[in-house]
């Protein structure tokens, strides 16, 4: 049966999202199994690929930013 998590409705691929700690993430993969992001610092993708579970507290706390 269907997975009820509509990740692509929650997160736009290539969109920017801000976490409560002030970190800004760019979503680079938005699929039913995969929500992946890179942290943005000084306009650049930095660090390792961040895997975000779509039902995690982090996912729920992310707010889209321009």
């Amino acid at each position: 049966m269907a997975n009820t998590i509509m990740i692509q409705h929650m997160f736009k691929k290539d969109g920017f999202y801000k976490a409560p700690d002030g970190k800004v993430y760019k979503i680079v993969v938005s699929e039913i199994w995969n929500l992946r992001a890179f942290e943005i610092q000084n306009g650049k993708m930095t660090g390792p690929m961040v895997k975000i579970h779509p039902e995690s507290d982090l996912a729920k706390s992310l707010v889209e930013v321009e």
């Binding site: 692509q8 699929e31 995969n34 650049k44």
Partner: protein, 857 residues
């Protein structure tokens, strides 16, 4: 005598390389050890299926040693001996390109000349006056691949980009999205978990213009061969439809049907006619998921504008297939659980590279819709993809922007091309020769259906024409259409300077002013995942064509041979001379870039860099508790899409068409191209502009089909791997030259006085090719079969539009695109004639001496 074992991936699959004292001694498949994870298991019909613990590369991969040490390796930089570096770019003897010999040059001399010319030409005309183009495929590896190193250099330089056409699946790209969406997969369908579905449910397989043992699932080697044997063992019946009784068909087909080339859409219509008149289609499914089905029915049943019923008898006249066979196949298809497709990944077969390839792709998809596509055992699936894999593991493939050294996050800074002007690959010669070209579409239109209809003009208003051409990778003379137009282009003075950067001295390299020797990926570092063309790129998750998901550290097995260098080194050195070497490399070596792919992917969570590079590969385990989500099941059953690589509207249960349904009359074509006669809103068979109804057929009565090759991979093997010339089904040595095999039906051979093994001339108004005849009932009576894209272009008179003896049958194919608004190529719509060659055979054309003859000391 210390033996070193390293690993790599080539287009034929992953390999282990045994090297002794700096010399490659042996290439073998990768055999898994006890520390590697166990494979997936599929339970079906009371049996369990699991892959063997050995990777299954294609046989072409086993010849990489022969290819690395090939006789035709470009050994050192060369400059055309009659090239004159004139200050204005004129009077450079461009008409001698292809004819002249070369003198040896140092790297410094060659690169300094190139840099002077780049500066001169861009300074004189503008940045857009330089263009560069890659081959259809290049050596495997995320660092060295064409979209990585090459793209980084040229985007930083600023150049006129040449847009690729989807040359392997034209009809599906330009047709499929208008019928069932999937533009983001370039018209290809989704095959997720369909191997398990097939093993459990399917009863009949339709292999339409499909030779999976030959095309090897794209880059997956023979990983899927065993799956089809499993289906055989389960009693699944295979029906092969192909003008050539291909290599998979002869060992597996329960029935072979041989349509006249280019008439397959008529066969689709007749099958639909049988189903409609006998009421044997899924009416409930169509009522729910079909759009304007009734209008299409009227057309099929003879109530449309043409008042022609598409009966099996009518179809017999078009296709040559007996009406009784058409009815029998239609009835079996409707009465059993049936899967199938055209070519690997469901949509790659040679039939989609015909004048009406879009119409075949559309009508074939509609047939599967009529039988309830997405229900168990009912799907577009052609037996070479859809294995279980861990979709939760991410490592980028070559088309994935996240996995290219041209872009962040692999690079610190993304390389951006400052030039907007573009060219289109198939018609580059026309653009250069005529100074003007207009076309529709973006080539690869994964961003939306609308991208098929963008209008392009060359030169772009306010831009200069192109005056420098940097050709990179294998030859196009064997893979693109109407080869002789490329000869004319190269000899045009419009191209003031031509560079060719390649591993082997293919026929096209000889048209350059400067030739640069690149090395194979056995002679440099790289990293890559088997058959991953891009998770997020086009046709993502193509690794489902493998039994094993494997990421390989492509270690350097040997040092670059002769004076060859890696592509990265060549571009880095050129960038340094242009003054931006540090920006290009960001201070990284090739090995540093490899490590970036490890640290920017899930690989770094699974295995340390040290362990990965020591072992040489990482096998991605498939979770035992994996959730099955068969492709299209969501659509058939009406729930939100749960397969990877989908779009938001699929989460609403819709396809990517305007209506979200299977469109029997396309709303997108009605909107953008209502009057296009090549691709009409109502999907339907059209007579080919070069087919048996053409006036030209009176003079040239044979169809040439030149499908994806069995004995090479586009440009990469046949020319440079003489081992293959020993295979009688590939080539035959006559008078010292290995002639390509062309297959002729015995009836027609007798009419022409041709016997098996004779030298024959294939010819039409575009050129002629000498081949060796294989007289066989394996071809449809009006068809000549000779594998295309041989990579071997060997004209009797170099630099002239003369007879070819390398087997470059693309000298015969038409340069015409499918339609005015359909920018796909159609090599399998070629008419020609054949005769026994009774003149003297050309001497002195043996490949072994080709390079030595033109390179002076």
């Amino acid at each position: 005598m210390a033996e070193k074992i390293t690993h790599s991936i080539c287009v034929g699959g992953p390999i282990a390389i045994h090297t002794v004292d700096g010399v490659i001694r042996r290439i073998r498949p990768v055999v898994l050890d006890n520390n590697d994870p166990k494979g997936w298991t599929i339970k079906a019909r009371g049996e369990e299926f699991t892959p063997t613990r050995k990777l299954q590369p294609g046989f072409i991969a086993m010849t990489e040693k022969n290819r690395a040490y090939s006789y035709d390796r470009i050994r050192y930089p060369m400059i055309r001996e009659d090239f004159v570096e004139t200050p204005d770019g004129q009077n450079r003897n461009t008409e001698m390109r292809g004819k002249s010999g070369y003198r040896r040059a140092s790297w410094d001399e060659a690169l300094d000349l190139i840099v002077r010319e780049i500066k001169r030409i861009q300074g004189m005309y503008g940045k857009e006056s330089v263009t560069a183009m890659t081959s259809s495929h290049h050596s495997w590896g995320n660092v060295g691949y064409k979209l990585s190193t090459f793209a980084r250099f040229f985007r930083m330089l600023g150049y006129t980009e040449v847009k690729d056409n989807p040359d392997s699946w034209e009809g599906f790209t330009w047709g499929g999205p208008h019928t069932y969406g999937y533009y983001w997969r370039l018209g290809g369908t989704e095959a997720f978990d369909l191997l398990e579905d097939a093993l459990q449910n399917v009863e009949t397989m339709i292999m339409w213009s499909h030779d999976p043992d030959t095309t090897r699932g794209g880059y997956a080697g023979n990983e899927s061969t065993m799956w089809r044997h499993w289906l055989n063992d389960l009693g699944v019946q295979f029906i092969y439809i192909d003008p050539f009784n291909n290599f998979s068909s002869v060992k597996q087909a329960d029935k072979w049907l041989a349509p006249r080339p280019g008439t397959d859409a008529a066969l689709c219509e007749a099958i639909a006619y049988v189903w409609l008149t006998e009421g044997t289609y899924d009416k409930e499914y169509i009522a729910k998921h079909g759009h304007r089905f009734d209008e299409w029915c009227d057309f099929i049943l003879g109530n449309g504008a043409d008042r022609l019923a598409k009966t099996p008898k009518w179809c017999e006249a078009e296709t040559g297939i007996p009406a009784a066979d058409i009815k029998a196949m239609a009835r079996r298809w409707a009465s059993t659980k049936t899967m199938g497709g055209s070519g690997m990944r469901g949509g790659f077969g040679g039939v989609c590279r015909t004048a009406n390839g879009t119409e075949f792709a559309r009508t074939m998809m509609l047939l599967f819709a009529m039988q309830g596509m997405g229900k168990p055992g009912q799907n577009v699936w052609s037996g070479s993809t859809g294995a279980p894999m861990d979709y939760d593991f991410w490592f980028g493939g070559y088309s994935d922007p996240l996995a290219q050294i041209a872009n962040e996050p692999i690079a610190d800074k993304t390389a951006v091309n400052s030039v907007t002007q573009k060219l289109y690959r198939t018609n580059l010669p026309e653009a250069i020769l005529n100074g003007h070209y207009e076309w529709y579409g973006e080539g690869f239109c994964g961003g939306g259906i609308d991208l098929e209809f963008t209008e392009h003009i060359y030169p772009e208003p306010g831009c200069s024409k192109v005056h420098m051409f940097w050709r990179y990778g294998g030859t196009f003379m064997g893979t693109m259409l109407d080869t002789n137009k490329w000869v004319k282009m190269y000899q045009s003075s419009e191209l003031e300077f031509v560079v060719n950067q390649d591993i082997h001295f293919h026929g096209e390299a000889r048209f350059a002013d400067v030739v640069l020797p690149a090395c194979t990926n056995l002679e440099r570092y790289d990293i890559g995942e088997l058959c991953n063309s891009g998770n997020g790129g086009y046709q993502s998750h193509s690794q489902t064509g493998n039994s094993w998901q494997i990421v390989v550290f492509q270690d350097k097995a040997i040092e670059p041979l002769w004076e060859s260098r890696s592509d990265y080194w060549i571009f880095a050195e050129t960038a340094k001379r242009l003054g931006w070497g540090e920006e290009f490399t960001e201070g990284r070596t090739e090995l540093d870039w490899c490590k970036r792919f490890w640290e920017k992917s899930d690989l770094c969570d699974r295995i340390s860099w040290e362990d990965f590079t020591k072992k040489g590969y990482y096998i991605v385990p498939v979770p035992e508790d994996r959730i099955r989500r068969p492709g299209f099941c969501w659509f058939a059953e009406g729930y939100a899409c749960d397969t990877p690589n989908h779009k938001p509207f699929q989460e609403e249960g819709k396809l990517g068409t305007f209506t979200g349904k299977f469109e029997f009359v396309s709303e997108s074509l009605l909107y953008w191209a209502p009057h296009d006669e090549a691709r009409t809103p109502i999907a339907s068979y059209k007579r080919s502009w070069e087919g048996h109804h053409s006036i030209k057929a009176r003079k040239y009565p044979f169809h040439l089909i030149s499908p994806h090759p069995r004995f090479d991979y586009h440009t990469q093997h046949n020319s440079s791997t003489p081992w293959f010339w020993e295979i009688p089904e590939n080539r035959e040595y006559i008078n010292g030259n290995p002639y390509l095999v062309a297959r002729v039906h015995p009836e027609k051979a007798a009419e022409k006085g041709i016997k098996d093994g004779d030298i024959i001339e294939l010819f039409n108004e575009r050129g002629s090719v000498l081949c060796v005849a294989r007289v066989t009932y394996r071809v449809e009576v009006n068809t000549i079969h000779a594998y295309g894209s041989s990579g071997v272009y060997n004209p009797v008179v170099p630099g002239e539009m003369s007879q070819d003896i390398g087997g470059c049958v693309n000298v015969l194919t038409p340069g015409r695109l499918m339609g005015d608004m359909v920018p796909g190529m159609a090599p399998n719509s070629t008419l020609m004639d054949v005769r026994k060659h009774e003149d003297c055979l050309p001497l002195g054309q043996m490949f072994e001496y080709k390079l030595d003859k033109v390179a002076r000391g």
